[in-house]
């Protein structure tokens, strides 16, 4: 395995992480999950930076990753505080509540088809049987009451 192919592999993994974060960011509607996908995109970039730092034998890539982690911590703090405040006003984490922030003239986005919540079958706790077994007679067991 050469340096170049190692770099390529790391870039692909970083790119995949970034792309998956991008896909989640564009499609999810929960504010917190959208923010989580932002952090995932930052991780993809961090992997690429570390790979380039090794390839060019320069510490600058790793320093940039450290700065990106510091910035990610700051944005997580401020962003989550904002999300908390938004939740306290509307008691919902839906991004749809804030569609007034888009450009003017856009049609309102309305949920037409709401899927049902699929709940798993409830698992009742199993109790160990206690008490005595009922006594029965042998003839009564073999006698069929219904034909």
């Amino acid at each position: 395995m050469s340096e170049w192919s190692l770099l390529q592999s790391y870039l692909v993994v970083g790119g995949l992480l970034f792309a998956i974060g991008l896909a989640g960011f564009l499609t999810r509607r929960n504010l917190i999950v959208v923010f989580l996908c932002t952090e995932m995109m930052l991780q993809g970039v961090a992997l690429s930076l570390a790979a380039w730092s090794r390839y060019h034998q320069d510490w600058g890539g790793q320093v940039l990753v450290l700065m990106a982690v510091a910035v990610a911590a700051c944005e997580a703090a401020v962003g989550l505080a904002l999300i908390l405040m938004l939740f306290q006003r509307t008691s919902s984490l839906d991004v749809l509540r804030w569609q007034d922030l888009r450009e003017e003239g856009q049609p309102a986005f309305v949920d037409r088809h709401i899927p049902e919540e699929i709940e798993p079958a409830p698992q009742w706790p199993s109790l160990t049987p206690a008490g005595r077994l009922p006594t029965w007679k042998e003839e009564e067991l073999q006698h069929r009451a219904r034909v």
Partner: protein
């Protein structure tokens, strides 16, 4: 077996470098534990751990016995990369926000392993400690404070079809572009582009050498001399973010809104 053969084997074993011995011994232990856990009397969870242990042990053997250790490196890299990408994909597919955050933390463990494999030890530790240990935990706390009950309607839905196709298409195209990236003429300027990987370059330590001047020391030297202003700016940014978050939480409830937050027709 006679004692002379055992003596020869032990002598040959002790003449190798300690790193090789470590890999072979580690491989033996991992494969043994894994095979023991795989036995049919175990529960499914033990079988999973057993398979993982066997795979790691095989990777360890390959690292010891291959020419430059590159085959083991490749196997470990592919395992870590598969784990990272799978955990990330599962994370965005979970309707529950808590599960999404926990799967993201699992993906961060994979990223930390990949960074360690790259030789960026400080970064691997920082990813685990700060990202998975502080940021994701903060996410979970905010979910606890902000999620009234289980799955809401917006957790089960995504945006329109167009957004889904765009997102999935981008996710498929982006890594494909990277794989097909040709080597330009500028890449030939750096040395060792097609040579096999050496774990040591100017800054990083080889795996087996004693840590006289460690990786963190060399990174810190560069960080606090050449990138000192960056560090100071990052510190100021952290202070500003701290004050800002507190201000938002303390004064955010009474501040008037300029746009409506309740329109949900």
């Amino acid at each position: 077996m006679s004692a002379a053969i055992w003596a020869d084997v032990l002598a040959a074993f002790s003449h190798r470098e300690p790193l090789w011995r470590g890999f072979v011994a580690g491989g033996i232990v991992l494969v043994a534990c894994g095979l023991w856990l795989i036995l049919p009397r175990s529960s499914p969870r033990r079988r999973m751990w057993g398979t993982l242990s066997v795979l790691l042990g095989v990777g360890s053997y390959l690292t010891a016995y291959s020419e430059s250790g590159a085959a083991g490196l490749q196997i470990v890299f592919w395992l870590l990369a598969a784990w990272t990408v799978t955990a990330a994909a599962v994370s965005i597919s979970m309707p529950s926000a808590v599960y999404a955050a926990v799967w993201f933390a699992a993906s961060l463990v994979g990223v930390s392993g990949l960074l360690l494999l790259q030789g960026a030890q400080f970064l691997g530790a920082v990813t685990l400690i700060i990202y998975a240990g502080a940021i994701v935990v903060m996410f979970l706390f905010v979910i606890m404070l902000a999620q009234p009950r289980g799955h809401e309607v917006y957790d089960r839905l995504t945006w329109s079809l167009h957004a889904k196709f765009l997102a999935a298409g981008l996710a498929a195209v982006l890594p494909a572009l990277l794989v097909g990236w040709p080597m330009t003429s500028a890449d030939h300027l750096t040395t060792q582009t097609t040579d096999p990987i050496t774990p040591a370059f100017t800054g990083y330590r080889p795996l087996g050498e004693p840590h006289a001047a460690g990786h963190t020391l060399l990174l810190g030297k560069d960080l606090f001399s050449r990138y000192l202003i960056h560090v100071e700016v990052a510190g100021t940014l952290l202070l500003a973010a701290l004050v800002g978050a507190m201000a938002i939480v303390l004064y955010g409830r009474s501040a008037p809104l300029s746009c409506g937050g309740n329109r949900h027709e």
